[in-house]
């Protein structure tokens, strides 16, 4: 299970966001470059149609693969009241022939993306990860070298935290509190609920850039 929120930011303010995150997290950023392949089950296969993501980490010398299953969002009155989305996520590292295996099982390519940016992994009330990345599509199949941005000038920010059925309310609360610190630069909400860029971003970014994040926003 994980708690997740997403938001967008203009590329011109990403540097300011990085300074802010650096100050908040107290850890160094890690480069992020992942090739994400989304597969869907072929016709008639499965009790229900299904979807699985294969994620290839291109940051490592030898690319590593992960199979990722993302389940539906938690429902109910309790989940509605949370400002973060709680969903099932299961991951498994796999050998490099994983795409061939899923094709052989009858899964078909739905779409693929290349995410390039950076990530912060840190502890703040709970274990959290913030990723800031430009999302790119590939005009040619699997050709990550010629990927082009899906939304030029805009980057995706995602905050995730692992949770369990016992801990998700506390984790959700820790994620919400953390998001408040980012509020002047961007608004984070449940995935699928786009709130656009925030009007205060330019001023907040200018302030961060002028004093390297020393001012409390």
């Amino acid at each position: 299970m994980e708690c997740v929120v997403q938001g967008i930011i203009e590329t011109q303010h990403v540097e300011a966001l990085e300074i802010l995150l650096q100050g908040l997290c107290g850890v160094r950023r890690e480069p992020l470059k992942v090739h994400e392949i989304c597969l869907k089950s072929g016709p008639n296969l499965g009790a229900v149609p299904s979807e699985v993501r294969l994620i290839c980490n291109l940051e490592q010398t030898e690319p590593t693969w992960t199979v990722r299953f993302v389940g539906g969002a938690m429902r109910g009155a309790g989940a509605e009241q949370l400002s973060v989305l709680v969903r099932t996520v299961i991951e498994s590292k796999a050998s490099k022939n994983v795409l061939r295996l899923f094709y052989a099982l009858g899964y078909k390519l739905d779409h693929e993306l290349l995410r390039v940016g950076f990530a912060f992994h840190f502890q703040r009330g709970t274990q959290m990860t913030v990723t800031v990345s430009s999302v790119n599509k590939m005009p040619q199949l699997h050709n990550t070298d010629e990927a082009v941005p899906v939304t030029p000038g805009i980057q995706l920010v995602e905050v995730t935290a692992p949770a369990s059925s016992e801990t998700y309310t506390e984790v959700a609360s820790a994620v919400s509190s953390f998001c408040e610190y980012l509020a002047p630069l961007l608004h984070l909400s449940k995935p699928g609920i786009s709130t656009g860029v925030v009007p205060t971003a330019a001023a907040a970014a200018a302030s961060l850039m002028s004093d390297g994040g020393g001012t409390t926003l």
């Binding site: 499965g46 299961i90 061939r100």
Partner: protein, 217 residues
């Protein structure tokens, strides 16, 4: 990692496996000074496609999921006709369950005792359907601890098997252990031994056990 051969018991024509043979084999191991160390268990599970319209010529008839004691946090998926072996984290079984595209059908346990014999490690095991004592076969793993190269160890493995066969011959058992080495190259595996080699050997043993049962019917 050290290489191993996985052998299966081939009963003589007109005979079947029984637990008396296991007892005799155990006595052979002890007669050549094998020291009993503890229990071991591997599991093979058949996964079959779930098809909504009952038609699915384009999907594999089944694939195997294998759990090995040498890698307790890993799981191996094998589509034998296509010569694909995948190594993944054990969480892949949860992902397969969530996808609901293939369903676990029959599981077979390979379980017994492990013995140390100088630089060799032997594992003798019964093949039993899950939650049943109905003996379906007998397997033996012969592991040579100092070497990882299949080719370099071939001679010493063959010499060991000659000694083994002589020890077995004295007891006039109704069958013998057979080593059928799969073509690892077809699975993309090299000379340096890995757990994927073990998984491929178990899949081959499984195919032999099925062929033996079918040949008898």
């Amino acid at each position: 990692m050290p290489l191993k051969w996985v052998l299966h018991w081939q009963p003589n024509a007109g005979t079947t496996v029984n637990s008396q043979i296991i007892n005799e084999v155990t006595q052979v191991v002890e007669s050549i000074n094998g020291i009993k160390e503890g229990r071991w268990k591997a599991t093979i599970t058949f996964y079959k496609p779930l098809l909504r319209a009952g038609f699915g010529g384009e999907y594999p008839r089944d694939f195997l999921g294998i759990a090995l004691p040498e890698q307790p946090n890993k799981y191996y998926l094998i589509i034998r006709p296509l010569r694909i072996v995948l190594e993944a984290d054990s969480t892949i079984t949860m992902i397969m369950e969530k996808l609901q595209s293939y369903k676990q059908r029959v599981s077979l346990n390979f379980e017994g005792f492990q013995y140390q014999l100088g630089d060799f490690q032997l594992r003798v095991g019964k093949v039993l359907p899950n939650q049943s004592e109905n003996l379906r076969g007998i397997v033996m793993e012969v592991e040579y601890l100092p070497i990882s190269s299949m080719e370099k160890a071939r001679q010493i493995m063959e010499e060991f098997m000659t000694i083994w066969d002589q020890a077995v011959l004295k007891r006039a058992l109704p069958g013998h252990f057979v080593h059928m080495e799969p073509n690892f190259g077809e699975f993309g595996l090299g000379d340096q031994y890995t757990s994927q080699h073990t998984a491929v050997q178990y899949a081959a043993v499984m195919a032999q056990l099925i062929a033996t049962v079918q040949g008898r019917n």
